[in-house]
C-alpha cells in the first residue's frame, strides 16, 4: 500500500511560506461553504456576507479598518514575542488593563480640559498594558513560572478587575445602575481621520507600528538579538545576548501595544468603560500574528482578513439569522488549517510504495 511520507526540505520553502496562508484560507472557505450548506443557508450568500459586504462601500471599508486597527496593534506586539519564543497569550488581559488605565485618565476630563489629554490617555493605556505584561515577565524572570499559564490566568484576573471598577467605584451614578462608567467627555475622544467614517488616528498609529516593528526586527541589533534568542538560545547565549532582556523586551512591547489598543478602543468607538470591552481581540490577534507569518506587513493583511471575519459574523447574525459566534469557528479553523498547511514549508510530501525507502519507519 502506498502511503504519504514527509521528507524534510534542505531549507524552508519560500514559495510555500507565502502560499500556505492562502491555501489555509481556501481550506477555511471550503469548510465554511460546507457548514453553510449543512445549516441550510445559501453558501454564496454566506460568502458574500463575509468577503464582499465588508468592502462594498467606503463606509464598510472604514468599519473594516476600525476593527482591524486593534487586531494589528496587538498582533505586532505578539509577533515580537513569538519571534523571541516568549509565549504571551494573555494579550486580552493586557488590552483590558490598557482600557482600564486609559479610562482612569479619561474620567478625570471635563469640558475645560485640553485636547492634549488624548495623549495622556494613550500613554496611560500603554502603561496599563505594560504593567500587566510586566507581571508575567517578572514571574518568569524571578520564579521561572511558565508565561503561557501566567499570562492566560491574568486575563481572567483582568476581567474581574474590570468588573470591580464598573460595578464599584467608577459606576456612573446617573447610569440607572448599569455597570458602566459615564460616557467620556467629548474632549477625550480619539481624533478621527475623516468626517464620514469612524476611522481614527489609531490606524495611523498601527501603520507607524508596522514600520517601527519592521525596523526593530530587521534593522537593529536589539531586534536581531531578540530573534536569535528565540531561534537558537544556545547561540544567543554564546553571542552574549541577554535572555532576560529578550524576555522583558518582548513582554513590555507586546503589553504596551495591547494596552494602546485598549486605550484606542475605549476612548474611540466605545466611548466609556463597560464589561463588554473584552471582545476577544487579544486572542484573535494570536491568529493574526501567525497567519501574517509574524511579519509586520503580512499582519496588515491578516488583520484585515480577521476583521472581515468579525464583521461577517455580525452580518451573518443580522442578515442570515446565524449566531455571531460563527466568527470564532472560522478564526479557529483558519489557524488550524494554517498550521497544517505550514508543514509544506518545511517538508515535501511524497508517496512511498512498499519496499521503497523509509523502511523501519513506524
Amino acid at each position: 500500500m502506498a502511503r504519504l511520507k514527509l521528507e524534510a526540505r534542505p531549507e524552508p520553502s519560500a514559495l510555500w511560506s507565502y502560499a500556505s496562508p492562502l491555501l489555509a484560507l481556501m481550506c477555511t472557505v471550503v469548510i465554511g461553504v460546507i457548514l453553510f450548506a449543512m445549516l441550510g443557508k445559501d453558501p454564496v450568500r454566506g460568502l458574500q456576507v463575509f468577503f464582499w459586504e465588508p468592502i462594498k462601500s467606503g463606509y464598510a471599508v472604514g468599519e473594516l479598518l476600525v476593527k482591524a486597527t486593534p487586531l494589528l496593534l496587538i498582533a505586532l506586539g505578539l509577533a515580537v514575542c513569538f519571534r523571541s519564543n516568549v509565549w504571551n497569550i494573555g494579550a486580552e488581559g493586557q488590552y483590558v488593563l490598557g482600557a482600564i488605565a486609559a479610562s482612569g485618565v479619561a474620567l478625570m476630563a471635563d469640558a475645560g480640559s485640553s485636547r492634549w489629554l488624548v495623549l495622556a490617555i494613550l500613554l496611560a493605556g500603554m502603561a496599563g498594558g505594560m504593567f500587566w505584561a510586566g507581571i508575567t515577565a517578572l514571574l518568569r524572570d524571578r520564579f521561572n513560572a511558565n508565561e503561557i499559564l501566567v499570562s492566560l490566568m491574568l486575563v481572567y484576573v483582568a476581567i474581574q478587575v474590570l468588573g470591580y471598577v464598573v460595578y464599584g467605584p467608577w459606576k456612573d451614578p446617573a447610569g440607572y445602575n448599569f455597570p458602566q462608567t459615564k460616557t467620556f467627555d467629548a474632549v477625550t475622544r480619539i481624533p478621527r481621520l475623516f468626517d464620514a467614517s469612524r476611522v481614527s488616528i489609531g490606524l495611523v498609529l498601527a501603520l507607524a507600528g508596522v514600520a517601527g516593528v519592521w525596523v526593530f526586527l530587521f534593522r537593529t541589533r536589539a531586534g536581531f538579538a531578540q530573534q536569535v534568542g528565540g531561534l537558537a538560545p544556545a547561540a544567543s547565549r554564546y553571542a552574549g545576548f541577554s535572555s532576560r532582556r529578550t524576555l522583558w523586551t518582548a513582554l513590555l512591547v507586546s503589553g504596551g501595544m495591547a494596552g494602546l489598543a485598549g486605550a484606542l478602543e475605549v476612548a474611540g468607538p466605545i466611548g466609556q468603560l463597560t464589561p463588554y470591552v473584552p471582545a476577544g481581540y487579544g486572542f484573535a490577534a494570536i491568529i493574526v500574528a501567525f497567519v501574517g507569518r509574524l511579519h509586520p506587513v503580512g499582519m496588515v493583511f491578516s488583520a484585515i482578513l480577521m476583521s472581515m471575519f468579525y464583521i461577517g459574523g455580525e452580518l451573518a447574525q443580522s442578515r442570515l439569522g446565524l449566531p455571531k459566534s460563527l466568527t470564532g469557528v472560522f478564526q479557529g479553523l483558519l489557524l488550524f488549517s494554517l498550521l497544517g498547511c505550514d508543514t509544506l514549508v518545511n517538508y515535501r510530501l511524497h508517496w512511498v510504495r512498499p519496499g521503497q525507502t523509509g523502511g523501519g519507519n513506524k
Binding site: N146, I287, F336
Partner: protein, 306 residues
C-alpha cells in the same frame, strides 16, 4: 458545622472536575505531548454532553458524548502535532480558540434548555454518619471513580510494562523507537486518552457540576488543569491532591461570600486564578526540581528517520 461539611462536599465536587481533566493531561504529557487545547476540548465536551442529556435524558450517554467530543478533537490535534510536526503550543492554542468558538456556536440553541432534575447520590448507611456523611458520602459516583482512577494510573504508570513504555516515549522517543516501539501511535493513544478525560471533565461540568449550558462556562478550568500537572511535578497522587486544593479555593469564594465577608465579589472570583499564579511561581522557583521531574521530551516533536 454542617456548613463545613457542605464546603468539603463542594470542594470534592469542584476538585473532581480538575482532577479528571488534569489526570488526562498528565497521561499525554507523560508521553511527551502538551495539549494546550484542554479548555477548548472541555467546552465542546460540555455542550456535547449537555445536548445529549437534553435529547436522551441519560447522564451516561451525556458523559460518553463528552468523551467522544474530547477524543475527536484530541485526535485532530494529535494528527497535526504527531504526523505533520506542527508546533504543539500553537496547535493546542488553535484547538482552544476553535473550541471556544465552536461550542458557543453549537450551544446557541441550548442556552435556555433544562435537563431533568438531578437526584442526590447517597451511599446507604455511610451517608447518614453525622458530618462525614454529608461531607464525603453523598457525591456523584464519578467523584469516587476519579480517586480509583488516580490509584489505577499510579499502578499503571509505575508498575506495568505498558506504563514504562508510555513514560519512555515521553523521556526519550529515540530510544523507544530504537527498541521497536511505535512511538507515534503510542503518543496518539495518549493524546486521545487525554482528550477523552478532558471531555469527561467538560461533560461533568455541564451535567452535574452546574447542570446548564452557558457560553464559556468552563471558565479557565482547562488552563488550571494544565497548570496542575506542573504543580504536581507530573505525579498522579499530587495531581489529585492539587485538584482538591484548587477545588477548595474555588469553593472558598462562595463560602466567604455566604459568610458576608466585606470584600467585593470580583476579588473573591479572582481567587482561583491568582492562586494558580502564586502556586505556579512557588513551585517553578526551583528550575532543577521541575527539570528532574518533567518528562524530558515534553513539547518536542519526534519524527522517525529525520
Amino acid at each position: 458545622m454542617d456548613s463545613y461539611a457542605l464546603l468539603i462536599a463542594a470542594t470534592l465536587n469542584a476538585g473532581t472536575v480538575l482532577a479528571i481533566a488534569s489526570l488526562g493531561l498528565l497521561v499525554n504529557e507523560k508521553a511527551g505531548i502538551v495539549n494546550l487545547g484542554a479548555e477548548g476540548m472541555m467546552l465542546c465536551a460540555a455542550i456535547a454532553g449537555f445536548a445529549c442529556v437534553v435529547h436522551t435524558g441519560s447522564d451516561t450517554m451525556g458523559f460518553l458524548a463528552g468523551m467522544l467530543a474530547g477524543s475527536v478533537m484530541a485526535g485532530v490535534f494529535g494528527a497535526l502535532v504527531i504526523w505533520l510536526n506542527t508546533n504543539q503550543y500553537a496547535t493546542g492554542l488553535a484547538l482552544s480558540l476553535f473550541g471556544a468558538g465552536f461550542s458557543a456556536f453549537a450551544g446557541i440553541a441550548y442556552v435556555q434548555e433544562k435537563i431533568p432534575e438531578r437526584h442526590s447520590y447517597a451511599i446507604p448507611l455511610l451517608a447518614d454518619i453525622p458530618l462525614a456523611g454529608p461531607a464525603l458520602f453523598r457525591q456523584h459516583p464519578l467523584v469516587y471513580l476519579t480517586v480509583a482512577f488516580a490509584a489505577w494510573l499510579i499502578w499503571f504508570l509505575y508498575r506495568t510494562r505498558s506504563g514504562l513504555v508510555l513514560r519512555s516515549v515521553g523521556e526519550s522517543p529515540e530510544s523507544a523507537h530504537a527498541l521497536g516501539y511505535r512511538v507515534r501511535w503510542i503518543r496518539m493513544g495518549a493524546v486521545v486518552t487525554g482528550g477523552a478525560l478532558c471531555g469527561l471533565a467538560g461533560a461533568y461540568i455541564s451535567i452535574i457540576y452546574t447542570p446548564l449550558w452557558v457560553e464559556g462556562m468552563v471558565a479557565g478550568k482547562g488552563w488550571i488543569a494544565l497548570a496542575l500537572t506542573t504543580f504536581a511535578t507530573w505525579r498522579p497522587a499530587r495531581v489529585l491532591l492539587g485538584a482538591y486544593l484548587f477545588g477548595g479555593v474555588t469553593m472558598l469564594q462562595f463560602h466567604l461570600q455566604g459568610m458576608g465577608v466585606e470584600v467585593p465579589s470580583q476579588f473573591l472570583s479572582m481567587l482561583p486564578y491568582v492562586a494558580t499564579i502564586v502556586v505556579l511561581a512557588l513551585i517553578s522557583r526551583n528550575p532543577r526540581w521541575i527539570r528532574i521531574n518533567m518528562p524530558a521530551a515534553i513539547g518536542k516533536p519526534f519524527y522517525p528517520g529525520s
